[in-house]
C-alpha cells in the first residue's frame, strides 16, 4: 500500500483557479513563480514527501526520542531525512535569495509544507523552526547578526528553536521570568528555564540557535518588558564555527501522546556562568517581533490541520476500498468493500468536502499574504492584510479543530483496526491532538478573533468580507445550475451578518457572555468561510466544464462536494450562532458551585 500521495490535482486546481496563482505571479518579486515552475516544484516535492519523509513517519513514532545525560537522541532515520531535506534546499523555498533562499511566494510554499506535514509532522517541525526563526531574524536582527546567523539558518546547516514558554508563563507570556544580564561588552548572560522547546536539543546539526524571550534588569513589568535574545548551543570561534559549549542544557524531555519523533525539551540556561546571548532588535520589543511572526506560525499550524486530515483521509479511503465486510445494504450483495456502506461513504465524502474547503481557504489566504506583502497599490495590499489578520485565528482555530475531526473520523472508518496502532491512523489522531493547543489554543484564537479582530474595529473588516462573500453568492445565483449552492451560501451569510450585528450591539456588561461564545463564533465563521470557498470551487469547476477543459469526473466531484458540504456541514453554522447568543448568556450566569 502506498502510504501518502500528495493531492496534486486538488493543489493545482486550487492554485490555478481559486487561490490566484496567476495574480500572485504578476506581483513584483513573484514573477519567477510561473505555473510550469510551480507544477515542477510540487511534483518534485511530492516525490520527496512520498519517498523520504512518509516512510519514516511511523518508525519515528515507534522509536520516539530519549534523553541520555544531556544528549537527546531522536529517531534513527531523522539524520538521513534531515540531510536530504537540507541538501535539496527545501528550507529556503520562501526565504529571501540574499540569504540563500529561493524567495518564492507563500502561495507556492503552502502546498509544499502541507506535503511535508502530511508525510511526517514530527520531523517537519524541525525545518519549520528554521523558517520561523529566519523570519524573526529578518524582522529584527542587525545586519551583522544576519550575516553571522541567517544564511546558516536558511540553509539548515544549523538548527533553530523558539524559546517562549516557562512553567508559569504559557499562554500568558507576561509572566516570563528568564533574566538577561548585560555583561558590559555588549553581550548578555541569560539565566532561567524554558519548557516545551521543540527540538531544543539534538545532534542532527553542528549547532543549534535558540531564540529566547527574556527580561532585562531594567525591564518594565508585563509583556512590554520582554526582549529577544539569540543564544547558540555552541558559541562561535574566531572563524565563525561552532566552538565552546554555551551554558545551556537539556534537563528533561516530555513524554507526549503524539509527535513522538519531535523532542520537547526543558532547557536550562545559565546553571553556571550564564548562557551567552545576543540581543535581537531593540530592548523590550521582543514580543512585538514574536507577534509579527505569530501570524505566520499560526497559519502554518492551520496547514498542519489540513495536512493531517488529508493523510487520515487517504488512509481511510485505502482501507475502505480494501476491507471487505458485511452485505451491501441496497443490493444485498456480499463480498464488497466497506466503501459501499452508505455511512462509510458519508464519512469519506464528508472528509473530502472539508479538506477541499480547508485547502481552498488556506491557499486563498496564502495568496492574500503575498498580495499584502507585494502589491504595489497600498490600498489593495492593506485590504488583503486586514483579511489575513481577521481570518488568521480561523485558519488556525477552525482548520486544526476540523483536522482533528477528520483524524477521528478516519479511525471510525477503520473500525477496530483504527484503534490498533499498526494501521498508523491512530498515530495521526495522536499527532493531531497538539495542533489545537500549541501556537495559541482554539480558545485563544477565538478570543483574538472576537476581541482584536471584530470588536476592536467594530466589525469593519468582517463586514467588508461579508460583502465579498455576498458578491460570490450573487454570482452563483446567476448560474441556474448553482442555485442550490447560492441559496446555501446566502443562508450562511445572513446568519453571520446577524451574529455580527448582535455582537456589536452588546455593551461592556456583556463581555463575559460574548467571550463565553467566542469558540462557537470561530466555528460559525469557519463554517461560513468553508462554504464560501466551496461555492467558489464549484463555480470554477462549472466554468472549466463549460469551457470543455479539465477532467469532467473531477470537476463534477468538486461541485458535488460543495453540495454535500452545504447539506451536511453548513447547517451547523446556525447551531453555532445559537450558542454564541444563547449559550454564552447561560454560561455567564452559571454558578461556579454548580460545577
Amino acid at each position: 500500500m502506498i502510504d501518502y500521495q500528495a493531492p496534486l490535482r486538488d493543489m493545482q486546481f486550487i492554485l490555478g483557479e481559486l487561490a490566484g496563482l496567476p495574480d500572485v505571479t504578476a506581483l513584483p518579486d513573484c514573477e519567477e513563480a510561473s505555473p510550469d515552475l510551480v507544477a515542477a516544484i510540487l511534483e518534485e516535492a511530492s516525490k520527496f514527501a512520498t519517498g523520504v519523509l512518509a516512510p519514516t513517519n511511523r518508525q519515528g513514532d515507534l522509536e520516539g526520542c530519549r534523553l541520555e545525560g544531556e544528549r537527546v537522541i531522536v529517531p534513527d532515520s531523522w539524520q538521513s531525512a534531515y540531510d536530504q531535506f537540507r541538501e535539496a534546499g527545501w528550507l529556503g523555498l520562501s526565504l529571501p535569495p540574499e540569504f540563500g533562499g529561493q524567495g518564492l511566494p507563500k502561495l507556492v510554499s503552502t502546498p509544499v509544507w502541507e506535503m511535508w506535514f502530511s508525510s511526517n509532522m514530527a520531523f517537519t517541525m524541525l525545518p519549520q523552526l528554521n523558517v520561523g526563526q529566519a523570519e524573526a531574524l529578518l524582522i529584527a536582527a542587525s545586519d551583522e547578526q544576519k550575516a553571522t546567523w541567517l544564511s546558516k539558518i536558511v540553509s539548515g546547516e544549523w538548527a533553530a528553536t523558539m524559546n517562549l514558554t516557562e512553567p508559569q508563563a504559557g499562554s500568558d507570556l507576561a509572566a516570563t521570568r528568564m533574566r538577561a544580564e548585560p555583561t558590559g561588552d555588549g553581550d548578555y548572560r541569560l539565566f532561567g528555564q524554558k519548557i516545551y522547546i521543540s527540538y531544543g536539543e539534538h545532534e542532527l546539526t553542528p549547532n543549534i540557535v535558540h531564540l529566547v524571550l527574556a527580561r532585562l534588569p531594567d525591564a518594565p513589568e508585563g509583556v512590554k518588558g520582554l526582549s529577544l535574545f539569540l543564544v547558540p548551543k555552541y558559541r562561535l570561534d574566531a572563524d565563525g564555527n561552532p566552538g565552546e559549549k554555551n551554558d545551556v542544557r537539556c534537563i528533561s524531555i516530555e513524554h507526549k501522546m503524539g509527535i513522538h519523533g519531535s523532542p520537547t525539551c526543558t532547557l536550562s540556561f545559565g546553571d553556571t556562568e550564564g548562557a551567552v546571548g545576543y540581543l535581537v532588535g531593540e530592548p523590550h520589543q521582543g514580543l512585538k517581533t514574536m507577534f509579527i511572526m505569530m501570524n505566520e506560525a499560526r497559519f502554518g499550524v492551520g496547514v498542519q490541520g489540513l495536512a493531517l486530515g488529508e493523510r487520515a483521509y487517504q488512509s481511510a479511503l485505502d482501507y475502505a476500498r480494501e476491507r471487505v465486510q458485511g452485505r451491501n445494504i441496497v443490493s444485498g450483495e456480499a463480498g464488497q468493500p466497506i466503501l459501499y456502506h452508505p455511512d462509510v461513504k458519508r464519512m469519506l465524502v464528508g472528509m473530502r468536502a472539508r479538506l477541499l474547503a480547508m485547502r481552498t481557504f488556506l491557499y486563498t489566504a496564502a495568496g492574500w499574504f503575498d498580495i499584502a506583502h507585494h502589491h504595489p497599490d497600498a490600498a489593495v495590499a492593506d485590504r488583503h492584510r486586514r483579511y489575513v489578520d481577521l481570518l488568521m485565528p480561523v485558519a488556525k482555530g477552525w482548520c486544526t479543530e476540523v483536522g482533528n475531526e477528520l483524524c477521528d473520523e478516519a479511525i471510525q472508518v477503520f473500525g477496530g483496526m483504527g484503534f490498533v496502532e499498526e494501521t498508523g491512523v491512530a498515530q495521526l489522531f495522536r499527532d493531531a491532538r497538539i495542533i489545537t493547543i500549541y501556537e495559541g489554543t482554539t480558545g485563544i484564537q477565538a478570543n483574538d478573533l472576537l476581541g482584536r479582530k471584530i470588536l476592536r474595529e467594530k466589525g469593519a473588516t468582517l463586514r467588508e468580507l461579508l460583502d465579498d462573500m455576498r458578491a460570490c453568492a450573487q454570482a452563483a445565483r446567476e448560474d441556474a445550475r448553482l442555485t442550490e449552492l447560492a441559496e446555501g451560501l446566502e443562508e450562511l451569510l445572513e446568519g453571520l451578518a446577524a451574529t455580527t450585528d448582535w455582537l456589536l450591539a452588546q455593551g461592556k456588561e456583556q463581555t463575559a457572555t460574548l467571550y463565553g461564545g467566542a469558540v462557537p463564533l470561530l466555528y460559525q465563521l469557519g463554517t461560513v468561510v468553508g462554504g464560501w470557498q466551496l461555492v467558489r470551487a464549484a463555480q470554477a469547476a462549472q466554468r472549466q466544464r463549460d469551457a470543455g477543459e479539465g477532467d469532467t469526473d473531477y470537476l463534477d466531484s468538486v461541485i458535488a462536494l460543495a453540495r454535500f458540504y452545504m447539506a451536511t456541514y453548513a447547517p451547523e453554522a446556525a447551531s453555532h450562532a445559537r450558542v454564541v447568543r444563547d449559550g454564552g448568556q447561560v454560561l455567564a450566569h452559571f454558578p461556579e458551585a454548580g460545577l
Binding site: M1, E322, R323, V324
Partner: protein, 316 residues
C-alpha cells in the same frame, strides 16, 4: 515462408525456453504455414544442436559454431540473424535476457518493428502481449514482411523433445562468421543453485515480509526441495534485506507463471501480484485473514507460518 527460432542455451545445454518458443512458432505455422528452423549460435554447440533437432515440429537446425558467438553477444549475433532473416517470415526467440538483448538489434538492422513478450498467437501477423506490467493486454498486428518476436515462455506449453532420441530434424552448419570488434565478453557470475531457475520453475515457493528474517527462508527450502520448486520473494522481503534482489517476483522483479505458486507471509501488494498472477494454481499462507493476497488465490490457509511450514514439509 518459414520461421526461425533462436535457440536458448547455457553451459552446453539447450535452454528449456527454446521448446516454448518453438511452440509459439508452431502456432504461427498453423496459420501461415512454413517450416520451423532453429538457429543454434555459439561455440562447440554440436550437442545443443542435436538436442534442438529432437524438438517436435522443427524441420532444420542451423548451427553457427564459432568463437565469436561463444557468449551470444548481441553485436555479432544480431548481424548474423539479420543476414539469415532474409529466408524467413518470422524470427522468434524466448523473452530471456538473451532474446531481449538480440532481437531488437536484428529488427532495427532489418528496419522492422519488434514484438515483445507475446503471450498468444492470434494469427500469423497478430499477437497478444501484456503492456503496463500486465495490467492490460494489447492485441497487435504487424504489417512488416518480417516479424521479429520475443515469446513469454510461460505462456506457451513446451513442445516435446528428448535428448535420447535421434532428432528428426536435419542439422546444417552456417558458415558465416561475423566480425565483432565492438564488444567482448569479460566474465560471468551465475548464481549457483540446484534449484530450477525462478522464471522457468514449475513450482515456486515465495516468502514475504512475514518471514521475519533471511534465516527463516530456510523454512521454505525443505518444502521447495520436496516439490522441486524455485524460491522467490516479495519486494517487501527484498527491501527488508532478507534475500537478494534476484529472488524478487513482481513488477520490478521476475515474472513467473508456474503450475503452482505458494506465497508465504506475503500480503499481496499489486506489484507482487503482477509478477505471479498467471500461475495456474496459487496458494497463500498468511496469518492475516484480510491480506489482499487471499482475493487472488485458489487456496488460502490462515495461520502462523512458523507452525504451518514445518508441518507442510513433513506431510508432503
Amino acid at each position: 515462408m518459414s520461421i526461425l527460432v533462436l535457440a536458448e542455451h547455457h553451459d552446453g545445454k539447450l535452454g528449456s525456453a527454446t521448446a516454448h518458443a518453438v511452440a509459439a512458432a508452431q502456432a504461427i505455422a498453423q496459420d501461415g504455414g512454413g517450416d520451423i528452423d532453429v538457429l543454434v549460435a555459439g561455440e562447440n554447440v554440436g550437442t545443443i544442436a542435436e538436442a534442438a533437432a529432437t524438438l517436435d515440429g522443427v524441420a532444420k537446425v542451423r548451427v553457427a559454431d564459432a568463437a565469436v558467438y561463444a557468449h551470444q553477444l548481441a553485436e555479432p549475433l544480431g548481424e548474423l540473424l539479420a543476414e539469415l532473416a532474409g529466408d524467413y517470415s518470422h524470427v522468434l526467440a524466448a523473452a530471456s535476457t538473451t532474446g531481449k538483448n538480440v532481437l531488437p538489434r536484428l529488427a532495427a538492422l532489418r528496419n522492422v518493428a519488434q514484438l515483445s513478450e507475446i503471450i498468444s498467437v492470434e494469427s500469423a501477423d497478430t499477437f497478444k502481449r501484456p503492456i503496463y506490467a500486465g495490467n492490460a493486454i494489447a492485441t497487435v498486428q504487424s504489417d512488416d514482411a518480417l516479424k521479429v518476436i520475443t515469446v513469454r515462455a510461460t505462456a506457451f506449453d513446451a513442445v516435446a523433445g528428448s535428448l535420447q532420441d535421434q532428432g528428426s530434424a536435419s542439422i546444417e552448419a552456417v558458415d558465416r562468421v561475423v566480425d565483432n570488434a565492438l564488444s567482448s565478453f569479460i566474465g560471468e557470475e551465475l548464481a549457483q543453485s540446484d534449484r530450477p531457475e525462478l522464471s522457468a520453475a514449475k513450482v515456486v515457493v515465495s516468502g514475504g515480509r512475514g518471514m521475519g528474517s533471511g534465516e527463516n527462508f530456510t523454512l521454505l527450502e525443505g518444502i521447495a526441495d520436496k516439490l522441486g520448486a524455485a524460491i522467490g520473494a516479495s519486494r517487501a522481503a527484498v527491501d527488508a534485506g532478507f534475500v537478494p534482489n534476484d529472488m524478487q517476483v513482481g513488477q520490478t522483479g521476475k515474472i513467473v507463471a508456474p503450475e503452482l505458486y505458494i506465497a508465504v507471509g506475503i500480503s499481496g501488494a499489486i506489484q507482487h501480484l503482477a509478477g505471479m498472477k498467471d500461475a495456474k494454481v496459487i496458494v497463500a499462507i498468511n496469518k492475516d485473514e484480510e491480506a489482499p493476497i487471499f482475493q487472488v488465490v485458489d487456496y488460502g490457509l490462515v495461520g502462523d507460518l512458523f507452525e504451518i511450514l514445518p508441518e507442510l514439509e513433513q506431510k508432503l
